[in-house]
């Protein structure tokens, strides 16, 4: 269901825009959110049972399981960016299947950016004062095939990168080619013969998956 962001969700989004130094543009954006129903994967695979047993919660097992499931459904949402106010109002009033472009998700009170959000950051923050890595050509091509990033592929990076942090992956033309997660901090990002950034999402994977699916049919 499409709706306006609540105060809590707005706070999460503003914090994220601020983190990437693009807070100034937030007020001009037309944002709607869509609550999505996600089944807890742990619950589906029977892992939740195991966790609850381990926590000695046998007594309240069923009650806790349904509570956890509901909590996920309430808190998780996709964030969409519309072109104008009219479009935003239409989404809330008419509940279409999709509107605008999706820029990320809020899951368990955390914002998870996607490639469209990375494009916005690169467009509006030309100072590069956010976590990023710039890759040489061969490394860039490998990222498009879903590969993680070796330290030797990194030509340039932001000095303030911390371990386990979301970073934007750029090619030599400073175009967004993916989003990754750092395994090391600061200068350790460039250590050779080690994967230093994990590939979370890249512009190639989605299309290649689609292409392979198509080929299989033939």
């Amino acid at each position: 269901m499409f709706k306006l962001a609540s105060d809590k969700e707005e706070a999460i989004l503003k914090r994220e825009f601020n983190k990437w130094s693009i807070f100034d543009i937030y007020k001009d954006l037309e944002i709607v959110i869509k609550i999505f129903k996600q089944k807890d994967p742990k619950y589906l695979e029977g892992k939740l049972d195991k966790v609850l047993i381990e926590n000695n919660n046998l007594k309240n097992r069923n009650k806790d399981a349904s509570k956890d499931k509901l909590k996920l459904m309430d808190n998780n949402c996709n964030i969409y960016l519309c072109s104008n106010k009219e479009q935003k109002e239409m989404a809330i009033k008419m509940q279409p299947l999709h509107t605008g472009i999706m820029i990320g998700q809020i899951k368990n009170k955390k914002f998870i950016p996607n490639l469209n959000f990375a494009e916005i950051i690169v467009k509006y923050n030309s100072t590069l004062n956010y976590p990023y890595v710039i890759l040489e050509n061969k490394g860039s091509n490998l990222v498009l095939y879903g590969r993680d990033i070796m330290g030797k592929s990194v030509l340039e990076f932001n000095n303030q990168i911390k371990e386990n942090q979301i970073v934007i992956i750029l090619n030599q033309k400073k175009e967004v080619i993916g989003i990754g997660r750092s395994r090391y901090n600061n200068k350790l990002i460039v250590q050779t013969d080690k994967i230093t950034v994990d590939n979370i999402q890249d512009i190639g994977t989605h299309y290649l998956k689609y292409e392979n699916k198509h080929n299989l049919k033939i």
């Binding site: 519309c82 072109s83 509107t99 299309y207 292409e211």
Partner: protein, 320 residues
């Protein structure tokens, strides 16, 4: 099915020869691409692709280029070039692989970037024409994209996202029920579901995979869709009806029947710049004289897919 072509396609033998030639030179086949000006200027894209080793030719539209791998001895890298659908530029959404004929249909909608139009794309997936409309509007105004087949919607969403299209709202609704939305539109594009005879040059299975029965089924659907579209078009608004089919049953006959119906007095057929005039008659049946304003595009004459375009304007009776 091909034997039918003799009755209405000019120089049919040239068309058949063209198809054979295209098939034998498969490796050096050309495609059309449309630069996505929401992400890159046409000139910048042209330069980037030439630098990579592709041969680019301009077309009648500024955004559209004819592209092929330059296998002419000057380029030793031609064989290792990625296919045009797997370059970095494609993945970045800098261009869309789209036939010139489809782009001409959108061009006829007469959209400019400064208006705040409400535009309807009645059968939107996979989003080629929708993204071009958004580009023409510079992401302003609103596009309503309808797609009845839920399985085709992911590719539509993917292409809108890849091309940075923000002004589009997608409804999983059948075009026949479009009036249920309660919206009136300034522009409507009806790229009607059709037998796809026009892509026979690229997909030779079309020679045998379609029967006359398919044309009849499509024709019934098209008649319903066009009438539903006219209902939700604002007075003075423009609708472009197009198909990638040669069959008069899916083209001129649909428009002719619309003109003969109750809604016929509400619309007029406007002239189109490119292509050959629509057929004046078929199977001894004469069409409305305004049908000559519709246009046909042929592979062997225009180097495009076989295509039909009709531009209809809803008459503003208050002004008359």
């Amino acid at each position: 099915m091909i034997s039918r072509f003799l009755t209405f396609i000019p120089n049919t033998e040239v068309l058949l020869e063209y198809i054979e030639n295209l098939n034998s030179k498969r490796s050096n086949n050309f495609e059309y691409i449309r630069a996505n000006n929401l992400k890159i200027k046409s000139e910048e894209l042209e330069k980037a692709l030439i630098d990579k080793g592709y041969r680019i030719d301009k077309t009648i539209l500024n955004e559209v280029f004819k592209i092929e791998k330059a296998i002419d001895g000057n380029n030793s890298n031609a064989n290792i070039l990625p296919s045009i659908g797997s370059t970095l530029e494609y993945l970045k959404g800098y261009y869309y692989i789209q036939d010139l004929s489809s782009c001409l249909a959108v061009e006829e909608l007469g959209i400019n970037e400064n208006n705040s139009s409400m535009v309807l794309d009645m059968a939107a997936s996979p989003g080629g024409k929708t993204t071009f409309i958004a580009q023409k509007m510079n992401n302003n105004g609103n596009i309503i994209a309808c797609e009845p087949n839920i399985k085709r919607i992911p590719s539509l969403i993917f292409n809108l996202s890849r091309c940075n299209v923000k002004n589009t709202t997608i409804f999983n609704i059948n075009g026949e029920n479009i009036d249920e939305l309660g919206i009136k539109f300034d522009r409507i594009l009806l790229d009607a579901p059709c037998s796809c005879e026009g892509i026979i040059a690229k997909d030779q299975t079309r020679k045998k995979s379609r029967e006359y029965k398919d044309i009849e089924i499509c024709s019934i659907k098209q008649k319903t869709l066009i009438k539903s579209a006219i209902k939700v078009l604002k007075p003075g608004g423009i609708m472009v009806y197009c198909t990638c089919s040669f069959a008069p049953e899916e083209n001129e006959m649909i428009i002719d029947e619309l003109l003969k119906s109750n809604q016929g007095s509400d619309v007029k057929i406007e002239p189109i710049r490119y292509g050959i005039d629509g057929l004046p008659e078929f199977k001894n049946k004469k069409f409305n004289t305004d049908i000559k304003n519709t246009k046909r595009l042929y592979p062997h004459i225009h180097n495009t897919n076989g295509f039909f375009i009709a531009k209809l304007r809803k008459i503003n009776k208050c002004l008359n």
